[in-house]
Structures are given as C-alpha cells and as structure tokens.
Symmetry: D2
Subunit: 155 residues, 4 copies
Amino acid sequence: MLASAQGINSPLKIVREVYDNLPFNRLLGLKVEFLEIDRAGFCFSMKNELIGNTVHGILHGGVISTVLDTTGGITATASAIERMKDLSNDEVAKLISRIGTIDMRVDYLRPGRGIQFHSTGTVMRTGRKVAVTRMELKNEENVLIAVGTGTYIVG
Amino acid sequence: MLASAQGINSPLKIVREVYDNLPFNRLLGLKVEFLEIDRAGFCFSMKNELIGNTVHGILHGGVISTVLDTTGGITATASAIERMKDLSNDEVAKLISRIGTIDMRVDYLRPGRGIQFHSTGTVMRTGRKVAVTRMELKNEENVLIAVGTGTYIVG
Amino acid sequence: MLASAQGINSPLKIVREVYDNLPFNRLLGLKVEFLEIDRAGFCFSMKNELIGNTVHGILHGGVISTVLDTTGGITATASAIERMKDLSNDEVAKLISRIGTIDMRVDYLRPGRGIQFHSTGTVMRTGRKVAVTRMELKNEENVLIAVGTGTYIVG
Amino acid sequence: MLASAQGINSPLKIVREVYDNLPFNRLLGLKVEFLEIDRAGFCFSMKNELIGNTVHGILHGGVISTVLDTTGGITATASAIERMKDLSNDEVAKLISRIGTIDMRVDYLRPGRGIQFHSTGTVMRTGRKVAVTRMELKNEENVLIAVGTGTYIVG
C-alpha cells in the first residue's frame, strides 16, 4: 500500500504535528489551520485566559505576538523543508528542532476583539541560512488586528 | 488612619495589582517583581506548559515576547502616571485601560533555558502621547536571553 | 481665476513640495512620484554616490532606509491631512513640521541592484496621535528589494 | 621591517578603509572614529545637505538610519573577522563584501539637533551565520538621539 504524497509521514505532516503539540501552543489553543510550502496559518478561539485588558475584554498582546511568532516559524520551516527535498523523517525532526526566531516585529493595529482568530504567514525571503516571513492576524469578521515580520534561522 | 505614600491605594500599587491579575499573565505565572516610576520587572518560573521546543526543553518564543511586552507596558504605564501626578484611583484605572502597545521588536539572543526568569524594563522616551521602553529577559544565572524595544500609546 | 481642488495651494501639493525640497532628499535625488490621501511613492536613479558595496555595485542600506522612511513619512502626512480637512496653508505647513518618525523596521530582502527605483507607502493604521505605514522598494524590473514598517507621530 | 599587529594590513585596518571609502558614507561625511573587535563608532558633522526638517533644522531620519546601519555593519564585520582569525587580506575583503544587513529597527528618541554626531555599535550576539548589534547616536553634548538594533548576515 502506497503512502500519498501528503501521507502520514510527509514532511509537512510531521511539521504540523510538532507545532500542534508544542506545550505552549496547546495552552493557548492554537491549531494549525493550513500548511503549504510557502504559507501557513493557525486558528484559535477567544477564552478568558487569553485576555490582557479586562476592561475591554481583548486579547493580551502576548497572545498576539505568540501566534504571529509561531505562524512565522512554521512558515519558515515549511520553506526550508521545501528547499532541501527528500529529507528522512529524522532529518525533518532535526531540522524543525534547529529552526529558531532571530528577531520579530509586531504592529498592533486594532484591539484583539473577536470570537475566532486566524493567522497567516507568507515567505518574503528564504535562503540557506535565514528566512524572513510576514504574518497577520484577523478575527472571524476579517478585521486585521495585527501584522508582524519575523527573521528565522533555518540552516 | 493615613495611607502611606506607597500605601494600598497608591497609583503604582494599583498598576501592580492590575498586571498581576491579567488573566494571561496568571496563566503564564508572571508576577511583578519590582515597580518604580521609570523601571519595572517581572519574574516567572519554568514549567512544562511554557515550552516551545520539546527537543531542547526551552521557552516558547511567545512566552518571551509576552513577558517583554507586558514588562514594557507596565514600565510605560508607571512613567505615564508619574508624568500626570495626583490621579484619583479611578483616573489611574482609566489610564491603565487606555495604554496599549503600538509595536514591539524582540531579539532572541540565546535559548530560553533556565529555572527562574527575570525581566527588566526601562523608559527610553516618554511624552504626552507615546512612550518607548527597552526590555530584557535573563535567567537565574544572569544569562541574557532576549531583548526588546516597545512603543506604547500612553495618552 | 479659481484654483482647482488639487491646485497650486492644495494641501497635498504643499506636502509634495516640502518633501521634494528637503535637502537630504535632494542630495539623494528622491522625487515624489505620486501622492494620494492613503498612499504615496518616490522614485530615484542609481548613481555612484549611492553605492554601499563597491564590489557588487549595489545601493547602500542607508539609501534604502532613507527612501523607506521618507516614503512612510509622506504617506503618514497625507493621511493626517485627510483626517483634519480644511486646513489653511499655514496649518498644513505646521502639521508637516510636527510629523516625525517614532520607529521603523527595514527588511533588506534582495541586493539593491538596478537603474531606477520606486518606493510605495500605504497606511496601515491612522489616528489622532499615531500612524503606521508599510513601505516597499522595487527596481525598474519590479524586483522587491526591501520592505519596511514605520510608526509616525501625526498629532 | 615587521608590520605591527594593528599595522597597515591588519584586518581591522582594511575594514576601516573600506567603510571610510564607501561612496555613500563619503557623501554624508561619515568617518570611522574607532574600531575594535566588539565595538565601533562613526562621527560626522552637521551640514545643510543632511537636513530633513527645514523648520527645525534637524537631521533627516535617513541620515540617522544610515549611520546606525553602517555602524552596526562595521561592528558585525569586526566580530566576524575576530571569530575567523588569521585571514589573508583577500579573505578579509571577500568577507566584508559578503556581509549584509538582514533587518534593522531604529527608534528616533529626540530631534537630531547638534554640530557633531557620534555613533556607537556593540555586539549582542555573534555566530557563524548571523550577528546582532545594538547601535546608538549622540550629539556633541552626549544627548541620545536614536538607538537601533540590526541583524546581519556574516557567514
């Protein structure tokens, strides 16, 4: 029986499982919503523990920076895997564990108000050493809450 | 009976209570360690839920960006309160609820390894509208893990 | 004889003249290419004095950060003028002189190679105090050389 | 006759000459003021061409971002050379030409007012691929005008 190209052991499938199971992502309720070779997204739901301003009932800035950072990270990872091709599962796992954020900027454009949130990451630059990604976060009404730019070690 | 200058209702005391009780700060275990008119710090302990790289057992980048953002926020808040003087408790609470991060940069310098972490924020610029703060995060061995710069609306 | 809405004394016309005549913009050869209420662009030509890497003959990073900063600045200015409406020429001049960059991030994506360069700025957030703009720089072949995000005092 | 350790062909001497002679640095009047293995600085004088706000007679934000970028670049270069040791002059020249800014943040803290300006760069992180530096710009009265953080490819 053949595994499909996107089958249980495909590199992107491994990446997805790793990110879905990072303890801090689970604490926040972040789930990978989609994952392609040059873009990716997470979704999560509002809950009381994510609030950072009790008067206005909006997301803590740290929730927003967390989801943007992890969205940029998974996007950079997918692009690095695509560049390398034909990695074994062990090599994919090793690559994932080596990738790290060098720096990130977050712009908080509007209050983090909503019920369901969706992030998107796209690759702006990718190379042997470094990837740069652009990220954004919207709520269920497609209101743009925050954008970010991240630089990641991928080599 | 008189309240002392730093008594139960002093502005900085109110700020401290608000930050200690933000739901997301509580979820992470962040506690205000010190709070002065131009600098402030949080501390927190490593725990499994804060991990972002299960291979290396290090803090999630989002934990680091969260603590830096909230450290910059409380520092900007204290400097804004100092500028305004003689605020009533209600005015302090209103001011706190209006302060928000405009943008932030985080530089991840070393892996987030450690048992106990301490952040520090200092004011670089403060005015009627905007404050800029510099933040850093160290572990219990004084290893510098990350630095950041944040711009906050304070008016 | 009546001046047209976009006539010689229209606010955007004044903004354009101020930016075209800033001494440092003139030194680099930056000219406003277009200016609307929520977007703007500059153009300039490669010349020897703008080189920052003599081996590769590419733009100095400082030329790139300068054009991105000034592009964000003019975009923020136009959006501030639009918000205020019906300003006299003096008020426009005063507003322009008060606008300043708070902070900026630049991402250098590809080498600054080319003959003619074009920047574009768009407004991401605008308010009474602060505007946030996104900028990009391309060469004559539409290659994306750099992007940036700037935060500006506009109040 | 022996050349001294810091003699005419020492690596840092070559770096200094390259930076002093970059066309855009010459256009602005930037000169290397000091250069060590982990810190460096430039100086330059106010002149009309560097003005960005004719009402206030202050430095263009692009002048400030240029000097911060080039200060971070030379600091990253020196730290990379120190890591590699015993490079021939050709290898030093090749290394210099490969180093480039990945991204930079600039915080404009106070108006760029003054007669003589001095920048300083220090290394915050250095490795085989990437260096992160912190930069600042002061005037002749030691007033802090701007700070920045830059990430550089050094490998």
